[in-house]
Symmetry: D2
Subunit: 175 residues, 4 copies
């Protein structure tokens, strides 16, 4: 079945520290009876920003899937700092922390416009074949594009953090 | 806790037939192992468009909730015409079909940019008090705003439908 | 990849009016900031009961999918009568209302143990080929099994309803 | 609004190493277009098992919430080892790894019946007041009950792991 051309996608941008930023609004569907965003909903926000980041550098997950390439989540570390609530306007960021032959680590946050952080996350994704879910090398043009977007080490903590203090209270310090 | 000012919301628009239109992208989170959008995910798309429609005419669900006013879904009719897939760029429309003292019927679609329709829905929502979930009159400024946005009867079928043929194959014709 | 044998599935039963009943608990994941079950979560409850009903009569959706057979939702009518809340113990029922060559209409409710009804739904599902999503005849052994489970006309309204009054306020009366 | 008595809850059990085990089935709602369980769906599975574990030792999250007590997720580490698929019968385990005055760390897995592990997770939850989301001491009877259920250090890796090798490849070794 042929698909119509996509409409242009609104709202995404790249900030000064090379992080992709996607605006996301909190709806009832994202909240729970505690009155705040349900924790798993943040993972959905993060996926949207990773996908739009990839699109912004020329790679559509739909086309990748059609070519038999998926990214499977392998490891996840996440810190929940301040609860977001119904109708909050958030920005979800995505940057590349590390890049391997078959995997990439994304560094992401969910923030308010003033830079205060709701959650901070580090996600390691592995490139796998769609048919067998076996690790495979990231296809070369994509790998090169991701490499050019890898964050500088001191930019990883994000606008709401203090890079030098990151090992004290950031996601990266846990273990 | 004070909240920062919201960022401006991107992408929504109002079309010639007075329907609000919100762009929505299909991510893995919206799909299922059948390779298409999971049916309940369309309901989440519809909620986003209703919420942004209300915001566009001056009413935020967050402020309404803070004032003790919710809209609870009372009836739902939905027709699934063509499956949307991963990475599809969709538009979700929202218009007011009927307006009562305590309830409003929204007429909504999920469409591609060429006007072909994935799903068509009619949703009756009742205004209830947040504490007891009892029906209450829609607050007057909101009721007046919704009234001014009520769709003309012949506009209800949407850009992908043929208004005159609506009783033959549209959502409204079922029973 | 070979799969271990499934563990026995707990909790389902068939009631006197030939409806399958599956216990479901309400967790935070099912609720929203209104303090009640989010409307789309009921659709997830309904899917679980349909799937376990099919399993209880000998048909696994996993095996059906492996054989290239899916059931796609075509039409949905749903009435929300009383909100369920966090930690409620619910029962989700599933019965066959009508059976066609390529489609089946399920009649379902979400109830409390005392028979009071949270939601009532009627769902028309179409049997489609997994590869092209084209309607196909329901495979014969499954069709025969479903036929033997078709509800008597006067049993359709469910324990919380009054069959004779159903056309006045039930799901079936809409359109 | 008074609630009917809950129906008995089926299927949970406690294993030899004092872990609660809840059977969970994979439905279409839990999967994505990659043909496997969507990563955020595992978090929903984990929440169900934590909640039923608490209930099994005498504490209902509904009653806790009514008393103004919530558990908010503060930190999450998760490892995805092998993808679960549609219709898989899984067991979700929950045990207490550490207990503090205001927080508890849960150690959880999602497994097949043969002990092979889909995901392993460590979640730190903080007891907060429902109104202000401020940390508070875990109410005493609950704290004492949780303490009596704290896992022995060498039991933490779970049936699919090798406790002695845990620092090499398990969730606990990250950072």
């Amino acid at each position: 079945m042929s698909r119509p051309d996509p409409v242009a996608w609104p709202g995404g941008s790249v900030d000064a520290s090379r992080r992709y930023r996607l605006p996301v609004r909190v709806y009832y569907q994202d909240t729970d009876a505690g009155g705040v965003v349900f924790h798993a909903a943040y993972l959905a926000f993060l996926e949207r920003a990773r996908t739009e980041f990839l699109r912004s550098i020329g790679f559509d997950i739909g086309r990748l899937a059609a070519e038999g390439v998926l990214f499977a989540l392998h490891r996840l570390e996440m810190e929940f700092l301040r609860p977001a609530r119904l109708d909050d306007a958030l920005e979800v960021t995505a940057g590349i922390g590390n890049l391997g032959r078959t995997s990439a680590r994304f560094v992401q946050t969910v923030e308010w416009a003033d830079g205060s952080v709701a959650t901070r996350a580090s996600l390691s994704l592995v490139c796998v074949s769609a048919t067998r879910f076996r690790p495979m090398g990231i296809p070369e043009p994509l790998r090169a594009a991701l490499e050019s977007w890898t964050l500088a080490a001191d930019a990883e903590a994000g606008p709401g953090g203090t890079p030098g203090a990151r090992t004290d209270n950031g996601v990266e310090s846990t273990g």
